[in-house]
């Protein structure tokens, strides 16, 4: 035992070259981000993520050719938008039905996204479920803005049932609906072959129409 272990325990002078060095990857930004995001201050993380979310809002509002929305999807934007929309839409509800109305918007959003995504996948589109939910949620921003505008316009007092304000509110929601459709057509229409594009876009049309209808309903309290 001792003789076996002796060469190990004594310092070796038999010409083993000691190799020293550092193992580092060639530094590009993403690698250093991946390695060091754990140590950075929380404010930096929040700023970076919020910046990504707002940048995606920008892409959804002014549709440009970019792969950011599809490839770096995240669900923060849809969550914020749907929650805000649900709170806005139940502000004139009675006490008992408020919770149910809040849940209705969420359920509609969820089931609608699932139906649209499964439909586009079944027709052969190359888009994953979360990418599609991300795009559908971000493109909801114009409709949310129209709900805000409608809420503000509701405070202007009016006497008759069908007044010019009703028509203005209806037109505002319709304009926002057209904007939303244009934005989502830019993103989701490209993922499909041209001879099936209308088949994929029609459920998206129905989905946003239902949400626009909910917003219009909210603008006409009796």
């Amino acid at each position: 035992m001792d003789t076996d272990q002796a060469p190990f325990l004594t310092t070796s002078t038999q010409g083993i070259d000691m190799i020293e060095g550092d193992i580092t990857l060639p530094s590009n930004r993403t690698n250093s981000n991946e390695l060091s995001t754990l140590d950075e201050p929380v404010l930096d993380t929040i700023k970076r993520d919020l910046g990504a979310v707002f940048r995606k809002f920008g892409y959804a509002v002014i549709p440009r050719h970019s792969s950011t929305l599809l490839q770096q999807w995240d669900l923060w934007g849809p969550l914020i938008l749907v929650t805000t929309l649900a709170i806005l839409l139940q502000s004139n509800a009675t006490k008992s039905s408020a919770g149910a109305q809040f849940a209705e918007v969420f359920t509609l959003m969820l089931i609608g996204s699932i139906a649209v995504t499964v439909n586009s996948q079944l027709l052969g589109g190359k888009i994953s479920f979360f990418q599609s939910v991300c795009v559908l949620g971000y493109c909801l921003l114009p409709l949310l803005l129209s709900a805000f505008v409608n809420n503000i316009l509701l405070y202007i007092p009016t006497k008759s049932t069908i007044s010019i304000l009703h028509i203005i509110r209806f037109l505002v929601v319709m304009a926002a609906y057209a904007w939303t459709m244009y934005a989502s057509v830019q993103f989701l229409g490209q993922t499909q072959q041209p001879n099936r594009r209308m088949l994929v876009l029609y459920p998206i049309f129905l989905f946003y129409f239902l949400i626009a209808w909910l917003i219009i309903l909210h603008a006409h309290p009796k």
Binding site: D4, Q5, P7, F8, S12, I16, A93, S97, Q101, E104, A115, V118, N119, Q121, L122, L123, G124, N195, R196, R197, M198, L199, Y202, P203, L206, F209, L210, W213, L214, L217, H220, P221, K222
Partner: protein
């Protein structure tokens, strides 16, 4: 495990090869580096593709897809926009000599059209019913009543699935012929609901005779398309049985339209409470379902006596 001469802890079997370099000769495709300059010279030559393709591209047999994968259901959705529009147009034009079924659906039954026609029908009925409530009933809140929409959704989807089931089993057991697969029947019935979508928008107009006229015309047109499709198959049997069964198909179509109209749109002289309309609709539904059950049983009994 023992200590070798170098002082490293090795396995006994490999201690003899401790001085050699190992050369790997068999390696997976992914280990080939496309940037390797050995392959760079030949990359312009397209005949000899030295970069090995991934395994699935050269796989000759199709991958087996399972029930829980999307690809399993893709075969029901092989359809283009043009074909869907053709089938929608053909579902409202009954042509006695040329069956649109043979020319359009038989080669390629799909589930896209029927499903989205049903959903659109439910959506338009819900929205139009909402508008009717807003204009004609003074004390109803202008909110979407999800209970009635759920009722109509269940009614329409049940109709879309139950009628093909009845007809399929009727053909199979009564006539002993499987002329139409279940998928083709589903497709047929789904497209036959397409005419009710513009009709449901027109149902908003609160004129009583107009609503009834629309109901009759729409269910006659789409029912006749169904009858024309089934007629060649069923004509070979007893005349009385074939007539009764076609009548049952027409009546079921009419019944569905009338139920939708009553639940959502019917304006009568008295002030209709929405809750009572819903209970009325459910009681008529249950009574009508027992009635159709008795008519089908009598239809099966009478040929034995005839």
């Amino acid at each position: 495990m023992m200590f070798s001469n170098d002082g490293f802890l090795t396995d006994k079997t490999s201690s003899s090869n401790s001085g050699q370099t190992h050369v790997f000769t068999s390696f997976p495709n992914s280990a080939v580096d496309p940037d390797d300059e050995h392959f760079g010279n030949q990359s312009s030559d397209t005949d000899k593709l030295v970069l090995p393709l991934p395994a699935t591209a050269t796989d000759a047999k199709p991958e087996q897809s399972y029930v829980w994968q999307i690809e399993y259901y893709q075969k029901y959705f092989q359809i283009d926009t043009q074909q869907v529009l053709e089938r929608l147009a053909a579902s409202v034009t009954p042509r006695p000599n040329k069956s649109y079924f043979d020319s359009t659906i038989r080669q390629n039954p799909d589930l896209y059209g029927p499903f989205w026609v049903c959903i659109t029908f439910i959506v338009t009925v819900g929205i139009s019913g909402n508008i009717v409530n807003y204009f004609h009933l003074p004390d109803v809140e202008f909110q979407i009543d999800f209970s009635r929409i759920t009722l109509s959704a269940i009614l329409v989807c049940l109709y879309w699935w139950l009628m093909p089931t009845f007809i399929y089993f009727f053909f199979r057991w009564r006539l002993n012929r499987i002329e139409y697969t279940f998928l083709e029947l589903l497709c047929l019935y789904g497209y036959s609901l397409a005419i009710f979508i513009p009709v449901s928008v027109l149902w908003i107009i609160p004129i009583n005779w107009l609503q009834w006229t629309l109901t009759f015309i729409a269910s006659l047109v789409s029912g006749s398309v169904l009858v024309v499709t089934f007629w060649p198959t069923i004509n070979s049997d007893h005349k009385r049985l074939s007539a009764i069964s076609m009548l049952v198909v027409l009546l079921a179509h009419l019944l569905m339209a009338v139920c939708i109209m009553f639940v959502f749109f019917h304006i009568s002289d008295s002030n209709i409470n929405p809750k009572s309309v819903t209970t009325l609709a459910t009681t008529t539904l249950s009574s009508m379902s027992t009635l159709t059950a008795t008519t089908t049983t009598t239809a099966t009994i009478t040929p034995k006596t005839a």
